[in-house]
Symmetry: C2
Subunit: 337 residues, 2 copies
């Protein structure tokens, strides 16, 4: 672990393509595991799971496992099964999230709960979650099992925390960070850390990859939450204003409320309580968020965590893997522009 971060001089906006290219061959293996392990004698399971899994997701989390393994020059194949396990945990979470949020659109397609109903989504989510543990058990590392079972519990805790904060205007930035640290960043961190475990690296390196993933995850979620107030369904692949109409206390709202005058505060109280759900109300919300620079500053927070993610890689040798991992962070925080 001896290297320096070389500032990149690249043409054009940052892209995920270098990371996608870096792990392409490995990702084919992961996709084979995913396809094989979502099968079942009960036809609805592969049908429903396949809709989401084949539905054009970026496979961000398994990609991180694979990229970290490349960074560490890991030569084995254990990470393929484990990356699939990570994706199954994520997919199970998405299925349950869409039920919880009553979402109708994800990645630009109708959600499974809309097509097959909430019950099927809950149960197939449970199946994928169980399958992810079967995959980990087959790998046989108790350390990996500990990391991922803990991440799963933390995710669920974060989701319940988010549910409890919903429609509560007094939610603080600190609580919001707790929530996204749990519901999003915990799995990013675990996905990265397990690469160090299979590569049998030091605890320092495990911790560095954990920090990379965790900070990237926080940045990623901050940008996602910002996008909900600048974008429409076409560009983000989910229903525009979903967070707003569901009364989710994301950072743009927390900042806009904190910075708002009496009229703005009254608006947010009403809106988060669920009394302002029209298109005009959402337009007003966007106006208030922009006027208070709340989206800009949410994105500034994202850049802060993105920089911490990049700095967490300081100890690793420069090369294609590290360059790709840095550019992935830059891509994540630049998405909203």
């Amino acid at each position: 672990m001896a290297a320096t971060v070389t500032p990149l001089r690249r043409k054009g906006p940052p892209s995920l393509d270098p990371m996608i290219g870096l792990v392409a061959a490995d990702m084919n293996q992961v996709n084979s595991v995913i396809l094989a392990r979502m099968q079942s004698d009960v036809p609805l399971i592969p049908e429903l799971a396949g809709h989401l899994i084949a539905g054009g997701g970026k496979r961000m989390r398994p990609m991180l496992t694979l990229a970290c393994a490349r960074l560490l020059d890991y030569q084995g194949t254990r990470h393929h099964k484990l990356a699939a396990a990570v994706e199954f945990i994520h997919t199970a979470t998405l299925l349950h999230d869409d039920v919880v949020d009553g979402s109708g659109l994800r990645r630009g397609r109708r959600t499974a709960n809309i097509i097959w109903g909430n019950s099927a989504s809950v149960l197939v989510g449970d199946f994928l979650f169980s399958r992810s543990f079967e995959l980990m058990v087959e790998d046989g590392s108790l350390r990996v099992l500990r990391i991922l079972s803990n991440a799963s519990a933390v995710i669920a805790e974060g989701e319940v925390n988010q549910l409890t904060a919903q429609r509560r205007i007094e939610t603080s930035e600190e609580r919001y960070l707790d929530i996204i640290g749990a519901k999003t960043a915990a799995l990013f961190a675990a996905a990265c850390k397990i690469a160090a475990v299979v590569a049998e690296r030091s605890e320092t390196e495990e911790a560095a990859l954990d920090a990379y993933g965790r900070n990237l995850g926080i940045a990623f979620q901050l940008v996602d939450d910002a996008i909900d107030y600048v974008s429409d369904a076409g560009t983000m692949g989910k229903d525009a204003g979903d967070d707003f109409r569901e009364g989710k206390m994301t950072l743009p709202v927390i900042l806009a409320y904190a910075r708002g005058d009496a009229a703005a505060r009254a608006f947010w109280k009403d809106a988060i309580a669920g009394h302002r759900t029209s298109d005009e109300d959402f337009a007003e919300a966007i106006r208030l968020v922009q006027a208070s620079r709340s989206v800009d500053d949410t994105l500034a927070r994202a850049r802060h965590y993105g920089q911490r993610a990049i700095d967490a890689l300081g100890g690793f040798a420069t090369g294609a893997a590290k360059d790709a991992m840095i550019e992935a962070v830059e891509f994540a925080v630049a998405r909203a522009y």
Copy 2:
């Protein structure tokens, strides 16, 4: 492993009390683990989980783990944590089941989904499920992890299978047995089998306890499904006629439909499709089920599996543990009378 089954000569109806007494001290330890491990900084989690966990369940599955450990004269304490893990898996399943079925009553109390909503039930279920894996990982046995992660996947598969069979009058007895073998018996089997693993017994003994649990689980579910057509909410602690109104193809219905004349078959087709949900319709369903001896024969099937459960214990030494385990089976199949 050398012993014979001595027919019991007991006064009064069979009871679960001997098994409850047998494991009472161990169950206190299990309850401590359960209470400690359902805690969270997010208050809704212990609140919701506690409602169901403290809600007067029999703790049948962890009790089986403890009873089997006693049967094997296991002297350690590992089974306490693992029995708690088994109960968490079961609790998570119940929380999700009640969402899937839209149930309003369980064990004579309002269900969590009615009190806190479906979203909270889904997410707290996920949390408990993750916690169960954390407990298993702490125990550290990959064999136990394999048994219980596989059981979890099979349970979820069975639940999806049941969902797909719902409102399908053509569901066969074979498919019904597949479903209850997965959704109920798999966890009974696993709960028993892991006792043999922690006690480091032979594969023969593992398989015998697996068979005991599996057959008991099938018998247990058959009786549960029979009770839905002989009882009311007061005696069974759930809404009377729930299965009927949800269009669940349980064995009493499968037999009554197979044995019915044209009029009865027309009734069942209508009812299972969801067009007969009144109290009068349910009364007619009970009449048809009784007239075709479908409940009696469902209970006869239960006794068949109960006997297989008892015979699976043939190789174990006679004693208080074995007696209690046999009487628990007799109790399970006698519940409907």
